[in-house]
Amino acid sequence: MRGNHVVGEAAIRAGCRYYFGYPITPQNEIPEYMSEKLPEAEGGVFIQAESEIASIHMVIGASMAGGRVMTSSSGPGISLKQEGISFLCALELPAVIVNMSRGGPGLGNIAPSQSDYFQATRGGGHGDYRTIVFGPNSCQELADLTYEGFNLADKYRTPVLILGDGMLGQMMEPVELPQEIPLKKLPAKDWALTGAKGRPSRFIRSLILDPIKEEEHNWKLMRKYEKIIREEVKWETYFADDAKMMVIAFGIAARIAKGAIKRLREEGVKVGLLRPITLWPFPFKAIKDFSKKVKHFFVFEMNMGQMVEDVKLGIEGNAEVHFYGRPGGVILTPLEIARVISSQYYQKRLG
């Protein structure tokens, strides 16, 4: 299945019945898939909105009513959705937002790039907030993380971002899809707006004029984010046990790096990989732990250097960090990145 179709199917299987979006390449197969499938599902609604801004606010409305809801876009469109993402966080509403990112800034191009890392993990929206961010690296992970994204969004009442890229959205791989969850089995939402029948009326709002109360609301969000940091960090390693140099890469760049590391290992070069799967919460502790025994880190990103800042935060000055990036939508082959890693490895006299 194609990556973008996988996202759509996994969402429907996770109980997503509402999708609101706006066309932008390279994610158009998601709205196309949803427009085909959602009307066939019970209560399913697909709307192609007039803008990204409108679509994210339709997401807010459907989420207020208690539905599982998704929107998707690519870089420039995600910029427009930031207002709504800030509101989703403030209003404590669950939603899944997919970014099949492209080269930027500005219109850039439609080639795969990882230049929206800052936007995804720092939030381009206003105010103090965090969003859970997944960085899948295969169609299988797109299925698993989209599905899990809906569960985490509901569990924490917070939006979950999936940061893919044009390559991941377009590539085709065999996928084992998750089991469809019956809507009746989804957890009840005792905060949803459904009309005040047989209960006191509810309101969902983010305006808190009293600074003391707004501070309380901020601390409440902070405690939630701290719980997410404790419980939801995900990463994986590859050839890490005896590595003298650790490559850190996420998403499709990590997939390419894996190929490079496999090749280098065959030549006896002792490099390993740490791949953050959650970009927020970031695996700071795992990286810090590695920095006690590995003194050379090689960060590879398809941008000018964004995640590398988090890697440095995790390492806390305990090891040397080398960054290699290719922005603009350029895709490296495993052979090319293997050459760069190997040159760095021998320069540092590790082998």
């Binding site: 007039e50 339709m58 969902i204």
Partner: protein, 252 residues
């Protein structure tokens, strides 16, 4: 003793924060009365805007969900599509509806979203201190058109309700006012009609209410009420702009 007048039960006991002579409190009360009379308290969901009415959820004893500035029609679309058997309305000011939220408003009407919008037009941005609104009329002084709005400088005001009436998806649009007892009664009837048509599934309905903002107009409430009739209503004529179902018994 028989009680003949009381607070609608769909309004909470919180006192309104609105200025003396402001139309919001009257419009809130009218919506409350209609909700009670149509027995909608348990099946209606409101979407308040940014602006003076942002605290509407403190006054209405119904489910309400806040929208950011201008996005009420999109939020209401998401809500209504998720719970189509509930009555969903937005409560928006002129800056919210006719400036920053123009796209959302036009497209909700174009799609024929089965929601109701209460569009409160007072010709200024009230909560931020009386700046020029898209509906500020030519010659009107505001804090950002201190020499009076001029068509060559600030451009013309926008008659959004007339524009929305062109959309095939809108079913009922009426402009009323809350400056005289007769106009207040007409406004109430219009709100009731809009909610009824929504329940019957006719699509987008809108009641634009010309409402006084004495504080920012720098007038006393009496003068502000007269100004609506004498000046504002000549730019924004009162009456039914569209009535596709054409239910004669509701016609004013």
């Amino acid at each position: 003793m028989k009680k003949i007048f009381s607070r609608p039960k769909s309004l909470k006991t919180t006192p309104f924060h609105y200025c003396p002579g402001c139309g919001h409190s009257i419009i809130h009360r009218l919506i409350g009365e209609v909700i009670d009379e149509m027995n909608l308290q348990e099946k209606i969901i409101g979407v308040p805007p940014a602006g003076c009415a942002v605290l509407a959820y403190n006054y209405f004893d119904i489910d309400m969900g806040e929208a950011s500035h201008g996005r009420a029609a999109a939020v209401a679309t998401g809500l209504k599509r998720a719970v189509p058997d509930r009555v969903v309305f937005t409560y928006q000011g002129d800056g919210d509806m006719a400036a920053i939220g123009t796209a959302e408003s036009i497209h909700a009407a174009a799609r024929g979203e089965n929601i109701t919008t209460i569009f409160v037009n007072n010709g200024v941005y009230g909560m931020t201190g009386g700046q020029m609104a898209p509906t500020t009329i030519l010659g009107q002084n505001t804090t950002t058109s201190p020499r009076g709005r001029k068509e060559k400088v600030e451009g013309f005001p926008i008659n959004l309700s007339e524009m929305l009436a062109i959309a095939p998806g809108s079913s009922y649009i009426e402009r009323t006012a809350v400056n005289t007892p007769a106009n207040i009664l007409k406004t109430k009837k219009a709100i009731a009609k809009a909610f009824r048509l929504q329940i019957q599934g006719y699509g987008f309905t809108l009641v634009e209410v010309l409402s006084a903002c004495p504080t920012n107009w720098k007038m006393d409430p009496l003068k502000a009420s007269k100004w609506i009739d004498e000046v504002m209503a000549s730019h924004f004529p009162l009456g039914v702009l569209k009535d596709t179902p054409g239910d004669k018994k509701d016609a004013h």
